[in-house]
Amino acid sequence: MKIELEFADKVVSYCILTLCSYGHSGDYEAFPTIPLNLNPKTLAESFQSVCLNSVRFNETRVVLKFMESDITIFSSGRMIMEKVSPDSQRSAGNLISKLMAIVDKSNL
């Protein structure tokens, strides 16, 4: 499925794919149709500012736990979301929307 995320000056279309997983763990990948150039440090600081725990980052990615899910965000905008509801790309889409709502996108 596709969702749209609003950034400071543009709307970015994201594709969501279901990854190989089983049982109660739904794993998904989301990637922007046009690669972005996000700043992992800025992303990480946004997440830390709202007291999200377990935020780690380096120059290419941010890794965090968000609402029981394991999230990896690359500077290209690609995301890996693990331990989300199974069989529900919509849940994965909602998760991304909530996550990105935290971020001050004008600094990305």
Partner: protein, 403 residues
């Protein structure tokens, strides 16, 4: 040789390290050209039309079938052209005549394509699936197979020649012999073996061999089922329709078994794909004349396995003894999920691998106890020692970073 080989795969010029050949091998320019030529020069349906283009298309399929048959030392009359290994296994599963109480011996190490069909038969036809448990390194104890085969009940022994999770090579010749002695038939899933090993159906002694074209340089949507000739008529065709009949009346029809595969190949096939499949056989056989390349199917994964095991926090699944596994290495990193590992390899190192359960949940979850699966790096003849270097360096960096 390797340089000229790599020039057949323009996709490698993009700088990627392609280590997902067990899912889909790259397609060489020679195969793409053969398919393109069909559409440009002989674009017609095969079989029935009498015009010149149809004759060329028919000849293209016949030639491809002969090449495919020759690859596994069989005859064209024994080859059913299919879309993939799953379809080939489906033809056997739904074509055999089953009775309540019949048993199918298989293993818990199979790809779902060689497991789900039998489970469904168990649900619908009252047959029993006897699944032998491989060891944690993926090897199978022949005694366990022998014990599982029951001369009065086992009707089919169905297992992979090379496992798709760990690349373990199973001694199928001995197993087919056990099946035959017990009066059972044998089906070998050759999806991961035909692309890398010289497979001879006569030496193996199997009744059926299923494999795909897309893992051996061919296009997707191609594959073959070797079916021992006398059994062709015993299998009920999976589909009926165009091209399979000798006669049709208002209320009945007679299937055409001349040549024997006719009854099993319904409708217009993927003609370009089949021609490409034949070309892929030529390409594969040409490469196999180079012993160094053939040996790399063993030596590259062996080196990768040996050196990955030395990296702190990295765990490699599968046997360690040389010769026991081929064409792939599977691993995981402490604290970093397989999907995250694979995404980092792709995103930050241009190394393309596969992650997850590899359509083998009873093995990855039940035996390896890996709820999130494993990372699989798989090789083919275009893979190089430099590819292994890049994989190792990338995994070292990821494991060191620890997230």
């Amino acid at each position: 040789m390797l340089l000229s080989l790599q020039s057949s795969f323009s996709i490698l010029e993009t700088g990627i390290v392609y280590l997902d050949s067990a899912a889909k091998s790259l397609t060489p320019a020679e195969v793409i050209k053969a398919m393109e030529q069909y559409y440009q020069k002989s674009n017609a349906n095969a079989g029935r039309s009498i015009h010149r283009l149809s004759r060329i298309a028919t000849d293209g399929i016949d030639t491809a079938r002969s090449k495919v048959a020759d690859l596994v030392c069989s005859t064209p009359e024994e080859i059913i052209l299919v879309r993939n290994t799953s379809e080939a296994i489906g033809i056997v599963c739904h074509g055999m005549q089953w009775a309540q109480g019949d048993e199918i011996v298989t293993t818990l190490g199979e790809h779902h394509s060689n497991y789900l069909p039998w489970l469904r038969l168990q649900e619908t036809c009252g047959v029993r699936v006897v699944a032998v448990r491989p060891k944690e390194d993926g090897t199978i104890d022949l005694e366990d197979i022998e014990k599982a085969i029951n001369p009065s009940r086992t009707k089919l022994v169905a297992l992979a020649h090379v496992s798709n999770t760990l690349g373990v090579v199973t001694p199928v010749q001995e197993i087919c012999s056990m099946a035959r002695k017990a009066g059972a038939m044998s089906l070998i899933d050759g999806a991961q073996s035909v692309p890398h090993l010289s497979v001879d159906v006569n030496k193996i002694g199997c009744d059926f061999l299923a494999w795909s074209g897309h893992k051996m340089f061919g296009p997707t949507g191609t594959g073959a089922l070797y079916c021992r000739k006398p059994l062709m008529k015993e299998l009920t065709p999976l589909h009926v329709g165009g091209g399979v009949i000798k006669n049709v009346s208002a209320d009945s029809f007679t299937l055409n078994y001349s040549p024997p595969y006719t009854a099993h190949e319904c409708g217009t096939p993927d003609i370009a794909g089949i021609i490409g499949f034949g070309e892929a056989v030529d390409f594969l056989r040409k490469l196999r004349m180079n012993k160094e390349l053939v040996d790399m199917s063993f030596s590259l994964p062996e080196r990768a396995s040996r050196e990955l095991r030395l990296i702190p926090g990295v765990h490699v699944a599968g046997p360690t003894a040389p010769g026991k596994f081929i064409s792939m290495v599977s691993f995981w990193i402490d604290g970093i999920s397989p999907h995250r590992t694979a995404a980092i390899l792709d995103e930050e190192f241009d190394v393309l691998v596969r992650s997850g359960h590899h359509c083998a949940l009873p093995f990855t979850r039940g035996i390896l106890k890996r709820p999130s699966g494993i990372v699989r790096a798989s090789f083919h003849y275009y893979s190089t020692s430099a590819d292994v270097d890049k994989l190792l360096e990338a995994v070292r960096t990821i494991a060191r970073n620890d997230f």
